[in-house]
Amino acid sequence: METKMMDTKDRELLMTRKLNAPVALVWEAWSNSAHIASWWGPNDFTTTISKMDLRPGGEWNLVMHGPDGTDYDNKSIFREVVPLKKIVYEHLSYPSFLTTVEFEDLGEQTLLKWHMLFESAEVFLQVVKTYKADKGLEQNVEKLEVYLSKMK
């Protein structure tokens, strides 16, 4: 049946990007915890990596600190590590998903393939919906702030 072929279509995200840096540098930015902490979190977040054991079965624990002081714990386990080529990790904190990051050597450039697979379409939809709700909430708070500043 058709649904078999497209088995994961309704619970995955695939992003690709050609990066303007050689694969060795991209790998370094991805595999060294000091580097990854510098770019991982959203813009106004900071990231603390308490553990990054980059090998199959190794733990990856990080905390993202939100601008409002909220901490977000993220626990993952590396499933596959192929230097300069591939990193697969499983996000254990909710929502659970499997990320496969592939690096393709293009000389001075690197093709990055970032694939996220959620455990079910239900979980994926829930995440997307929660994200949308958060976004909506964020915008509402912004609107309220603008409104309040006008009142002053």
Partner: protein, 115 residues
């Protein structure tokens, strides 16, 4: 305003997603749909009710037949939300891109091209 039933809730169920797949190309009779599943006709009717309330399916009566037609426009709402979520991750890649530029400068100095 009466709150319409949530599109997400409607497509969160695998049976309901299969029903939408089945009628996406062309409308089908309720009986024909029910025959493809191992559950009771009532269960399928209930699923169709949820889909109808979410605006994903319309049912048209033709004599004794009830034809179900998929209204795929409603799904755009979902894909727009998925896109929003995707952008959240795309921004991470943006940040990686910016950071790589910084790393390159640190490693190779400012000679961006000639290296």
């Amino acid at each position: 305003m009466i709150a319409r039933r949530d599109v997400y809730q409607a497509i969160a169920d695998p049976t309901r997603r299969t029903i939408i797949d089945m009628i996406a190309a062309q409308p089908q009779n309720v009986n024909a749909i029910a025959e493809k599943f191992d559950v009771t006709r009532q269960a399928i009717s209930l699923h169709l009710k949820v889909l109808t309330e979410a605006g994903l399916v319309t049912v048209t009566k033709k004599g004794r037949d009830h034809f179900c037609e998929a209204q795929l426009d409603q799904l755009c709402e979902v894909s727009a939300w998925v896109d929003q979520y995707r952008q959240h991750w795309e921004r991470k890649i943006d940040a990686l891109e910016t950071y790589l530029e910084k790393l390159k400068k640190e490693k190779y100095g400012n000679q961006n091209d000639g290296y």
